[in-house]
């Protein structure tokens, strides 16, 4: 069974440019999460989808970040315009179960974003 995949693995852009990250969850997983790890800090929650709906976006830093999950399959995270502090590793995770139950999240390899 294929795991969570993310694309690209690395992205280097200049301040002010736009970048789109993609995540393909494990097949059949309704829950999809985005996380970010900035240098020296812990992994922090950004957003949670249940199928195509945004269940919790309380971790999104500001309105320069836009996440979508069309059709409840893969998800994209767009940063526009990118700022220096957006640099970090963006992880995607997916899980099978829904609310009120125990749930294991499986992570992708991450996308390393560098904003110059």
């Amino acid at each position: 069974e294929a795991g969570v995949t993310q694309f690209p693995s690395h992205s280097v852009i200049e301040k002010g440019q736009t970048v789109t990250l993609r995540c393909d969850p494990i097949s059949g997983h309704d829950n999809l999460y985005w996380y970010r790890r900035v240098m020296g800090k812990e992994i922090k929650f950004l957003l949670h989808f249940v199928k195509e709906s945004k269940q919790d976006e309380s971790g999104m830093p500001n309105n320069r970040f836009l996440a979508e999950r069309t059709g409840g399959t893969y998800s994209t995270l767009k940063v526009q315009p990118a700022e220096l502090e957006d640099s970090g590793v963006y992880f995607c995770a997916s899980s099978l179960r829904t609310s009120g139950s125990r749930d294991t999240q499986y992570f992708g390899p991450g996308t390393r974003l560098t904003v110059l």
Binding site: K41, F45, D56, S58, S99, D103, Q105, F107
Partner: protein
């Protein structure tokens, strides 16, 4: 405020030298505590889930335990291939009863031959 703290930040062991990593947490509505292993340039790899105080899980040289305030990851007779960053994450009740994860900053383990 929900919080997860891991210690030590880094740990250097000789091959065969057993030790323990700590994860202390303060969350409301704990659903589970997770241990992940992360190798450089890769995503977190799931190791264990613990759901209630007193629970223990084992896998090869690793054993995870849980109390009401903390979890330990015991490493017995480690080998160089156990070198990695070990992450602790706590699953708590979030918005509308959906799960929310809080991560610690990790313990970087280096096992020397």
């Amino acid at each position: 405020e929900d919080q997860v703290t891991q210690s030590p930040e880094a740990l250097r062991l000789q091959e065969g030298e057993s030790s323990s990593l700590n994860c202390s947490y303060t969350v409301s509505g704990l659903r589970g505590l997770f241990w992940y292993r992360q190798d450089p340039g890769k995503g977190p790899e799931f190791l264990f889930t613990l759901y209630s105080a007193g629970e223990e899980k084992e896998k090869e040289r690793l054993k995870a335990t849980l109390t009401k305030k903390e979890s330990f990851l015991h490493i017995t007779a480690p080998k160089p291939e156990d070198s990695a960053t070990y992450l602790c994450a706590v699953q708590a009740v979030g918005l509308d009863n959906f799960n929310k994860f809080y991560f610690g900053s990790g313990t970087k383990l280096n096992v020397k031959p």
